[in-house]
């Protein structure tokens, strides 16, 4: 009795943690005795080494039980025979690889290139799709798109809305939790460190922002209080890197920043983490919204007309957006209908999901239009990735089945000896597994090495850390398993189905269906190739069309200076003096000032209407300030009337318009418009001239109606330089600049480069498209090469006999090539109309587009034919050149 209770007590004794580990891995039926032995040993050790030493020894002993002989015992139902078979499969697979090195090489190269390409593309696509998703409530955030209607016609679709919509939504709809607005601004910002030279930078990425910002978005504030930092006037919060730029190691909180000289004095109340790369809206400065309210007498709070505000709303989770939109439209009509009728206008404010902006939004006045992507192109790239992967897999399938002839004997003998069909299937699956493992490893290596070059080529600044996330390895696994199973299964089934008697009797197994399948797969590969080639040619054609089309304005040899940020009352006079100085520099042809330049989106809009006749209501037009020299220097054609002229002193009350506006205002011809009076900016002004439409922006955008005012000395100074010697002119410019605009950094760029930056994204897309097209073509050619080499090998004897009977080398090459040219030709016939149709769809998205030339299909078809012919005939040539005696002597 006593003994039993003592035993019980002992069972409850707390043994060290290491025994739990034992329990975890040890099979149940072994656990008790092993644990018993270990405890026995433990007690013996306590006596010899003390408690501590014994515990260490116990832990070590437990660890040593963690061996396959223990934890695998009766766990896996792998019986000895299967283990031996797996070993055998692997051995045979490697023997086969070594025996046919070129075949293995071909397969691994194709598969790994295919995998690497699709990994790169899929990661890229993932990155593009990740935009703005880092906000915890990204799905509930909507941006308000503003559609302006005039006379029943859609005038513009803009990313910026009027400031009154946010509050109106929040106050009238319980579904709206919060709203927040951004008003973009830029300027010269100065920090005056006591006792040192002031630091000044031109800042482009600043916004006036509502306090509610941190309730809607997940931007992280490092210093400061999210609720307080943007309260009150003249407060600013800055990004971490900006803080470093201005303040080095100083604590920025409480410091003062000056905007444009003494225009504004801002107090730094917070520092936020730099806005992530994958945010569509980017900013370095956020200025409290009350600052702009104070400056505009609350215009920026209540206006229904001023549209420069990026407005976001946060909806309650599960809100039916369509329903809300309908109610909102109704509300707008009730509240605003009166106003609209007066001006014959209509305003639409549409809720658009935040996460769609990066890929699917292409409105007027997007925050950073050059960073936006075209969702369809990104989607097209993932299709290319699939194509490449399929092409690579098809190679494997084709080569494996084509070789079935060579391995038929092996299969026959194995079956006779007693191999089960499943074992044969396993054998072939093992081979495809091993090949795919090799390919996957190689693909990862390729991706890792290619990533920096690839990032540079594509301009996708995607950090490598983004690449090597968990999902990446998951993707590798999926590609590998998918590839192994898909490419391994079909050959495995085909090969294992051979009848041993037929095979060993020497009957040639060449199933017509197998042949047909192989040919269709080749057709598919080349349809994809031809499609990709003609696609990239059309992309290039459209790009060069856009770049070479006459813009109606001359951008060459123009150097642009940004006007000084900090100026005083003498500015206009200073500009005139500067101008005179500049014109003296040898090589300078002219200088003109304007509020906007080609390539810079013109945000300045205003309303215009005819005094008599014309359309009802007011037309919204873009507005530009130019001086006398702008039109002649930029080589803009005057269609009717005249340019601004210094001989007419009251030209400041006159305007120029472009041809598009003349049509919009329903003048019968440009000539009719000259001399007419219009209402603009609340004044009555006279149209003195009509200029030809020119492209303010790239050819992706339509020419919009525009008004030109005579205002000297505005934002940009365009200097036409005669010689190619920009450098000397630039140096010569520095002296007068320093003389008249002291304290301002000189900021210049070349107009043609500036303008063509708009095509950067298209160029890059073209390059990427071409790169992967090349890759797809290369992999397809590899496959064809492999296929051709095996086919000719099979027909060695036939070729020998033909030669003996007097066939010529060229005759044999022709004979062998014919079989391969047929599927390629079929592919061309299928691919051309397909490419024509799909690329035409793509072209529809451009307002100015090229016509698809038929020669593009000729070229792509010919290119594919040549590549196919070269890869096939190289093999055929080898076979045809072999002496018949060598091939026939074994008969």
């Amino acid at each position: 009795m006593n003994e039993a209770s003592k035993l019980k007590q002992d069972q409850n004794y707390k043994y060290p943690f290491s025994l739990c580990f034992l329990k975890w891995f040890c099979p149940d039926h072994l656990h008790e005795e092993i644990e018993g032995d270990l405890i026995q040993k433990f007690h013996a050790d306590v006596k010899r080494f003390g408690e501590r030493g014994a515990k260490e020894r116990l832990a070590w002993n437990v660890l040593r039980f963690f061996r396959p002989g223990i934890f695998l015992r009766n766990r896996l139902s792998l019986q000895i025979i299967q283990i031996y078979m797996i070993r055998n499969y692997i051995k045979i697979a490697f023997r086969n690889f070594v025996r046919q090195k070129s075949y293995t090489l071909l397969n691994v190269a194709g598969l790994s290139l295919g995998m690497a390409a699709s990994l790169l593309i899929l990661q890229y696509v993932k990155y593009e799709r990740s935009f703005d998703t880092f906000h915890s409530r990204a799905k509930d955030i909507y941006r308000i798109q503003y559609n302006g209607w005039q006379n029943g016609r859609l005038n513009f679709e803009s990313a910026v809305a009027v400031p009154a919509v946010g509050p109106a939504l929040k106050n009238n709809f319980p579904e709206v939790e919060a709203y927040t607005r951004f008003l973009p601004t830029k300027g010269m910002i100065t920090y005056e460190r006591p006792g040192e030279e002031p630091v000044t930078f031109r800042e482009e990425k600043a916004q006036y922002a509502d306090t509610s910002l941190f309730g809607v978005f997940d931007f992280k504030l490092i210093h400061g209080n999210t609720k307080q930092c943007l309260k009150g006037t003249n407060k600013v919060i800055i990004s971490q890197s900006t803080a470093r730029k201005y303040f080095d190691d100083e604590d920025p909180i409480g410091k003062s920043l000056k905007v444009n000289g003494n225009e504004l004095l801002l107090e730094v109340t917070g520092v936020f983490q730099d806005v992530p790369e994958n945010s569509h809206i980017k900013f370095d400065f956020l200025i409290s919204y009350e600052t702009i309210n104070a400056l505009t007498k609350n215009e920026s709070e209540n206006s229904w007309g001023w549209y420069d505000f990026y407005s976001f709303v946060l909806l309650k989770p599960g809100t039916d957006v369509k329903d809300l939109q309908a109610k909102w439209d109704e509300y707008l009509l009730k509240e605003r209908g009166e106003d609209w009728r007066k001006t014959n206008r209509k305003q639409e404010f549409i809720l658009r999901p935040l996460t769609d902006i990066h890929l699917y939004s292409n409105l007027l006045y997007e925050t950073s239009p050059r960073e936006l992507r075209d969702g369809d192109s990104v989607y097209a790239l993932s299709i290319i990735a699939m194509f490449i992967l399929i092409i690579a897999s098809v190679n494997y399938v084709n080569l494996a089945t084509a070789r079935s002839f060579n391995r038929a004997n092996e299969v026959g003998v194995r079956k006779v000896v007693g191999a089960l069909r499943t074992q044969l299937v396993n054998q072939f699956l093992t081979e495809s597994f091993i090949l795919n493992v090799l390919a996957a490893v190689l693909a990862v290596v390729i991706v890792r090495i290619a990533w920096p070059y690839f990032s540079e080529l594509t301009g996708w600044n995607i950090p490598i850390s983004f690449l090597l996330q968990k999902e990446f390895w998951l993707l590798v696994l999926v590609l590998f398993l998918g590839g192994a199973v898909l490419s391994g299964f079909y050959p495995a089934i085909i090969l294992s189905s051979f009848k041993p008697v037929a095979v060993l009797k020497g009957k040639i197994i060449r199933s017509a269906s197998g042949n047909f399948l192989r040919k269709s797969l080749v057709v598919f590969q080349f349809v994809a190739s031809v499609f990709l080639i003609s696609g990239s040619l059309i992309v290039y054609q459209q790009l060069s069309f856009m770049k070479n089309k006459d813009l109606g304005i001359s951008l060459e040899q123009t150097l642009v200076l940004k006007r000084p940020g900090i100026v005083d009352s003498l500015y206009e006079g200073n500009y005139e003096a500067f101008k005179t100085e500049v014109l003296r520099i040898p090589g300078v042809q002219g200088i003109a000032a304007s509020s906007t330049i080609p390539g810079e989106e013109n945000y300045w809009t205003s309303g215009i209407s005819r005094l008599t006749g014309g359309p009802e209501g007011t037309n919204i037009v873009t507005t530009a300030a130019i001086d006398h020299d702008f039109i002649p220097q930029y080589d803009v054609q005057i269609v009717a009337g005249r340019n601004f002229d210094s001989r007419f002193p009251n030209d400041k009350e006159n305007i120029l318009i472009n041809r598009a506006l003349a049509a919009e205002l329903e003048f019968k011809s440009p000539e009719d418009a000259v001399g007419q009076l219009v209402k603009h900016w609340g004044d009555t002004v006279k149209i003195v001239g009509v200029v030809e439409d020119f492209h303010q922006m790239s050819l992706r955008a339509k020419v919009i109606p525009a008004v030109f005012h005579l205002i000297p000395a505005s934002q940009f100074y365009s200097i036409k330089v005669e010689t190619e010697n920009y450098y000397a002119v630039l140096q010569a410019l520095e002296k007068p600049w320093a003389e008249f605009f002291a304290g301002n950094p000189i900021d210049y760029f070349f107009l043609d480069q500036f303008f063509s930056r708009q095509y950067e994204r298209d160029d890059r897309f073209g390059q990427v498209f071409t790169l992967f097209t090349g890759l797809a073509l290369f992999i397809a050619a590899l496959g064809l090469l492999g296929l051709a080499s095996f086919m000719t090998l099979q027909r060695t004897r036939e070729i020998g006999i033909r030669k003996v009977l007097g066939s010529s080398v060229s005759g044999i090459i022709l004979l062998l090539s014919k079989g391969f040219m047929q599927p390629v030709l079929i592919a061309i016939v299928i691919a051309c109309p397909l490419a024509w149709f799909l690329m035409n769809q793509w072209l529809q998205s451009f307002p100015y587009r090229t016509n698809i030339n038929l020669w593009i299909f000729g070229i792509s078809g010919l290119l594919v034919l040549i590549i196919a012919f070269v890869s096939v005939s190289s093999q055929a040539m080898k076979a045809a050149m072999t002496k018949p005696a060598e091939t026939l002597k074994y008969e």
Binding site: K6, D10, E33, E35, G36, D37, L38, R64, F65, G69
Partner: protein, 111 residues
């Protein structure tokens, strides 16, 4: 094709099982080897070898009783099967055969 020879360690364990009779279980065997031969053995190696010998059919096992020093856990007692005994005997005979073939060099060394 089956392995009908034993490794050195396997032979040692098999002999110990035969020798210890009713007291042949993992910890006892490893203790016995350590005290008798002054040879460090690893407990897990002993266990794995015992299981392997059982797989090969040279020994069989049943569960025995628990004791205090084992925290109440039962032992697994191993006994030699007739195949095991035959194996031991065969090995002993081969050893002897081999030993006889060795020239008795010890005598020659004397002069």
């Amino acid at each position: 094709m089956g392995k009908d020879y034993l490794g050195e360690f396997e032979e040692l364990i098999l002999t110990m099982v035969a020798a210890l009779q009713e007291d042949a279980y993992g910890a006892a065997i490893s203790d016995e080897i350590e005290t008798k031969f002054k040879r460090e053995v690893n407990l897990s190696a002993v266990h794995v070898t015992l299981y392997r010998l059982e797989d090969k059919g040279y020994i069989k096992s049943r569960m025995g009783g628990g004791t205090k020093e084992r925290g109440g856990r039962r032992k697994r007692i191993f006994t030699v099967t007739s195949a095991g005994l035959a194996m031991l005997r065969a090995m002993k005979e081969t050893r002897l055969e081999l030993w006889k073939m060795v020239p008795q060099l010890g005598l020659g060394l004397k002069d």
